[in-house]
Protein backbone atom coordinates (compact mmCIF):
# COMPACT_ATOMS: atom_id res chain seq x y z
CA UNK A 1 0.00 0.00 0.00
CA UNK A 2 2.76 2.38 1.05
CA UNK A 3 4.86 1.44 -1.93
CA UNK A 4 2.00 2.05 -4.34
CA UNK A 5 1.23 5.40 -2.68
CA UNK A 6 4.86 6.40 -3.03
CA UNK A 7 4.84 5.32 -6.67
CA UNK A 8 1.71 7.35 -7.27
CA UNK A 9 3.34 10.32 -5.57
CA UNK A 10 6.40 9.90 -7.74
CA UNK A 11 4.22 9.83 -10.83
CA UNK A 12 2.42 13.01 -9.78
CA UNK A 13 5.80 14.64 -9.15
CA UNK A 14 7.02 13.69 -12.62
CA UNK A 15 3.80 14.90 -14.23
CA UNK A 16 4.01 18.20 -12.40
CA UNK A 17 7.62 18.64 -13.36
CA UNK A 18 6.73 17.99 -16.97
CA UNK A 19 4.07 20.71 -16.68
CA UNK A 20 6.66 22.98 -15.11
CA UNK A 21 9.13 22.61 -17.94
CA UNK A 22 6.57 22.42 -20.76
CA UNK A 23 6.78 26.14 -21.71
CA UNK A 24 10.42 25.60 -22.65
CA UNK A 25 9.37 23.09 -25.28
CA UNK A 26 6.38 25.00 -26.59
CA UNK A 27 8.60 27.61 -28.22
CA UNK A 28 9.30 25.53 -31.32
CA UNK A 29 7.38 27.11 -34.20
CA UNK A 30 5.57 24.88 -36.70
CA UNK A 31 7.87 23.62 -39.44
CA UNK A 32 5.18 24.08 -42.08
CA UNK A 33 2.58 26.68 -43.00
CA UNK A 34 -0.34 24.31 -42.38
CA UNK A 35 -1.69 26.24 -39.37
CA UNK A 36 -1.63 29.59 -41.15
CA UNK A 37 -2.93 28.09 -44.38
CA UNK A 38 -5.92 26.54 -42.64
CA UNK A 39 -7.01 29.97 -41.33
CA UNK A 40 -6.87 31.62 -44.74
CA UNK A 41 -10.13 31.70 -46.63
CA UNK A 42 -8.65 30.57 -49.94
CA UNK A 43 -6.63 27.44 -49.29
CA UNK A 44 -3.49 27.02 -51.34
CA UNK A 45 -2.94 30.77 -51.61
CA UNK A 46 0.56 30.34 -50.19
CA UNK A 47 1.63 27.39 -52.33
CA UNK A 48 4.99 27.94 -54.00
CA UNK A 49 5.48 31.33 -52.34
CA UNK A 50 8.10 32.67 -49.99
CA UNK A 51 5.96 33.65 -47.00
CA UNK A 52 6.66 36.04 -44.16
CA UNK A 53 4.34 35.30 -41.23
CA UNK A 54 4.43 38.29 -38.90
CA UNK A 55 2.75 38.41 -35.50
CA UNK A 56 1.76 41.94 -34.53
CA UNK A 57 -0.56 43.99 -32.35
CA UNK A 58 -1.71 47.59 -32.47
CA UNK A 59 -0.41 48.22 -28.93
CA UNK A 60 3.08 47.03 -29.89
CA UNK A 61 5.17 50.02 -31.00
CA UNK A 62 7.90 48.08 -32.91
CA UNK A 63 5.13 46.19 -34.75
CA UNK A 64 3.64 49.48 -35.91
CA UNK A 65 7.06 50.71 -36.97
CA UNK A 66 7.65 47.52 -38.98
CA UNK A 67 4.51 47.96 -41.12
CA UNK A 68 5.87 50.47 -43.67
CA UNK A 69 8.89 48.20 -44.18
CA UNK A 70 6.75 45.10 -44.70
CA UNK A 71 4.52 47.08 -47.00
CA UNK A 72 7.50 48.10 -49.11
CA UNK A 73 8.79 44.49 -49.17
CA UNK A 74 5.42 43.18 -50.31
CA UNK A 75 5.25 45.77 -53.07
CA UNK A 76 8.81 45.23 -54.31
CA UNK A 77 8.99 41.43 -54.12
CA UNK A 78 5.32 40.54 -54.62
CA UNK A 79 5.76 39.76 -58.30
CA UNK A 80 8.59 37.34 -57.56
CA UNK A 81 6.30 35.29 -55.33
CA UNK A 82 6.74 36.93 -51.94
CA UNK A 83 3.74 37.06 -49.61
CA UNK A 84 3.29 38.67 -46.21
CA UNK A 85 0.71 37.24 -43.82
CA UNK A 86 0.31 39.47 -40.77
CA UNK A 87 -1.28 37.77 -37.78
CA UNK A 88 -2.98 40.25 -35.47
CA UNK A 89 -3.19 39.26 -31.80
CA UNK A 90 -5.19 42.27 -30.54
CA UNK A 91 -7.95 41.29 -28.15
CA UNK A 92 -9.78 44.45 -29.14
CA UNK A 93 -10.58 44.01 -32.83
CA UNK A 94 -11.40 47.74 -33.23
CA UNK A 95 -7.87 48.77 -32.24
CA UNK A 96 -6.49 46.61 -35.03
CA UNK A 97 -8.98 47.93 -37.58
CA UNK A 98 -8.19 51.51 -36.53
CA UNK A 99 -4.48 50.95 -37.12
CA UNK A 100 -5.06 49.17 -40.43
CA UNK A 101 -7.15 52.11 -41.65
CA UNK A 102 -4.14 54.36 -41.18
CA UNK A 103 -1.46 52.05 -42.57
CA UNK A 104 -3.52 50.35 -45.30
CA UNK A 105 -1.17 47.39 -45.86
CA UNK A 106 -1.32 45.55 -49.19
CA UNK A 107 -1.05 42.12 -47.57
CA UNK A 108 -3.23 39.51 -45.90
CA UNK A 109 -4.25 40.01 -42.26
CA UNK A 110 -5.32 37.14 -40.02
CA UNK A 111 -7.08 37.89 -36.74
CA UNK A 112 -5.99 35.71 -33.84
CA UNK A 113 -7.69 37.41 -30.90
CA UNK A 114 -7.73 34.21 -28.84
CA UNK A 115 -3.98 33.79 -29.32
CA UNK A 116 -4.28 30.19 -30.52
CA UNK A 117 -1.87 30.68 -33.43
CA UNK A 118 0.47 32.72 -31.23
CA UNK A 119 0.42 29.85 -28.74
CA UNK A 120 1.24 27.31 -31.47
CA UNK A 121 4.18 29.44 -32.59
CA UNK A 122 5.37 29.85 -28.99
CA UNK A 123 6.05 33.57 -29.33
CA UNK A 124 8.62 35.03 -26.98
CA UNK A 125 8.65 38.60 -28.26
CA UNK A 126 6.51 41.04 -30.20
CA UNK A 127 6.74 41.30 -33.11
CA UNK A 128 8.06 37.92 -34.20
CA UNK A 129 8.22 36.90 -37.83
CA UNK A 130 8.81 33.58 -39.52
CA UNK A 131 10.04 33.09 -43.06
CA UNK A 132 8.90 30.04 -45.02
CA UNK A 133 10.41 28.92 -48.32
CA UNK A 134 8.51 28.05 -51.48
CA UNK A 135 8.30 24.46 -50.27
CA UNK A 136 6.36 25.68 -47.20
CA UNK A 137 9.19 24.79 -44.80
CA UNK A 138 10.37 27.14 -42.07
CA UNK A 139 13.62 28.92 -43.00
CA UNK A 140 14.20 31.55 -40.33
CA UNK A 141 12.72 33.36 -37.37
CA UNK A 142 13.16 36.99 -36.29
CA UNK A 143 12.29 38.45 -32.91
CA UNK A 144 11.55 42.13 -32.49
CA UNK A 145 12.02 44.78 -35.15
CA UNK A 146 15.34 46.58 -35.37
CA UNK A 147 15.82 49.13 -38.13
CA UNK A 148 19.50 48.26 -38.50
CA UNK A 149 18.69 44.58 -39.22
CA UNK A 150 16.20 45.20 -41.99
CA UNK A 151 18.75 45.15 -44.84
CA UNK A 152 20.09 41.78 -43.63
CA UNK A 153 16.56 40.44 -43.33
CA UNK A 154 15.69 41.70 -46.79
CA UNK A 155 18.81 40.11 -48.28
CA UNK A 156 17.73 36.75 -46.81
CA UNK A 157 14.30 37.07 -48.41
CA UNK A 158 15.74 38.16 -51.76
CA UNK A 159 18.14 35.21 -51.68
CA UNK A 160 15.32 32.79 -50.92
CA UNK A 161 13.31 34.18 -53.82
CA UNK A 162 16.29 33.89 -56.17
CA UNK A 163 17.54 30.47 -55.06
CA UNK A 164 14.12 28.91 -55.00
CA UNK A 165 12.86 30.67 -58.11
CA UNK A 166 10.08 28.78 -59.82
CA UNK A 167 11.29 26.58 -62.60
Amino acid sequence: MIVSTSRAAGLVLLLSLSLFVSPAFSSDPPETLADVDSVLASNGELDGKVVLVDFWASWCVPCRISFPWMKSLAERYGEQGFVVVAVNVDKDHNSAVEFLKQSDPPFTIIYDSTGSLAEKYGLEAMPTSFVYGRDGKLRSQHQGFHGEDTSKFETQIAELLRKEAKK
Partner: protein, 77 residues
Protein backbone atom coordinates in the same frame (compact mmCIF):
# COMPACT_ATOMS: atom_id res chain seq x y z
CA UNK B 1 4.83 5.12 13.06
CA UNK B 2 7.01 4.39 10.05
CA UNK B 3 3.90 4.18 7.93
CA UNK B 4 2.66 7.58 9.14
CA UNK B 5 6.02 9.18 8.35
CA UNK B 6 6.00 7.65 4.88
CA UNK B 7 2.46 8.87 4.29
CA UNK B 8 3.43 12.34 5.46
CA UNK B 9 6.43 12.41 3.14
CA UNK B 10 4.23 11.24 0.29
CA UNK B 11 1.66 13.94 1.04
CA UNK B 12 4.44 16.52 1.17
CA UNK B 13 5.83 15.40 -2.19
CA UNK B 14 2.37 15.46 -3.76
CA UNK B 15 1.63 18.93 -2.35
CA UNK B 16 5.02 20.29 -3.38
CA UNK B 17 4.81 18.86 -6.88
CA UNK B 18 1.29 20.18 -7.40
CA UNK B 19 2.39 23.59 -6.17
CA UNK B 20 5.37 23.47 -8.52
CA UNK B 21 3.20 22.46 -11.47
CA UNK B 22 0.73 25.18 -10.64
CA UNK B 23 3.38 27.80 -11.29
CA UNK B 24 4.13 26.59 -14.80
CA UNK B 25 1.80 29.01 -16.60
CA UNK B 26 1.96 32.07 -14.43
CA UNK B 27 2.36 35.41 -16.10
CA UNK B 28 1.13 37.27 -19.13
CA UNK B 29 2.14 35.90 -22.52
CA UNK B 30 3.86 38.32 -24.88
CA UNK B 31 0.82 38.51 -27.17
CA UNK B 32 -1.47 39.26 -24.22
CA UNK B 33 0.15 42.49 -23.01
CA UNK B 34 -2.51 44.66 -24.59
CA UNK B 35 -3.51 47.31 -22.01
CA UNK B 36 -0.40 46.55 -19.97
CA UNK B 37 1.70 47.76 -22.90
CA UNK B 38 0.16 51.24 -22.88
CA UNK B 39 2.46 54.04 -21.69
CA UNK B 40 0.04 55.05 -18.91
CA UNK B 41 0.34 51.56 -17.42
CA UNK B 42 4.08 51.83 -16.87
CA UNK B 43 5.27 52.14 -13.27
CA UNK B 44 7.00 55.43 -14.09
CA UNK B 45 4.32 56.84 -16.39
CA UNK B 46 3.98 60.23 -14.64
CA UNK B 47 7.13 62.27 -15.33
CA UNK B 48 6.20 64.96 -12.78
CA UNK B 49 5.41 62.42 -10.08
CA UNK B 50 8.68 60.69 -10.75
CA UNK B 51 10.68 63.92 -10.61
CA UNK B 52 9.05 64.93 -7.30
CA UNK B 53 9.54 61.49 -5.78
CA UNK B 54 13.16 61.45 -6.88
CA UNK B 55 13.77 64.92 -5.45
CA UNK B 56 12.31 63.96 -2.08
CA UNK B 57 14.12 60.64 -2.02
CA UNK B 58 17.49 62.09 -2.98
CA UNK B 59 17.15 64.89 -0.42
CA UNK B 60 16.12 62.61 2.43
CA UNK B 61 18.53 59.80 1.69
CA UNK B 62 21.43 61.79 0.30
CA UNK B 63 21.39 59.26 -2.49
CA UNK B 64 21.87 61.35 -5.62
CA UNK B 65 22.76 59.02 -8.47
CA UNK B 66 20.58 56.22 -7.21
CA UNK B 67 18.44 56.44 -10.35
CA UNK B 68 21.30 55.41 -12.56
CA UNK B 69 22.83 58.69 -13.68
CA UNK B 70 26.39 59.76 -12.93
CA UNK B 71 27.31 60.03 -9.28
CA UNK B 72 28.27 57.61 -6.63
CA UNK B 73 25.38 58.10 -4.26
CA UNK B 74 27.34 60.36 -1.93
CA UNK B 75 24.83 63.18 -2.29
CA UNK B 76 27.59 65.63 -3.20
CA UNK B 77 26.86 66.03 -6.93
Amino acid sequence: MKRIILLMITALIVAASLALGGCSHVGVKVWEHDILAKPEMQLDAGANDRALDDHIYFSKEASSGGRGFAGGGCGCN
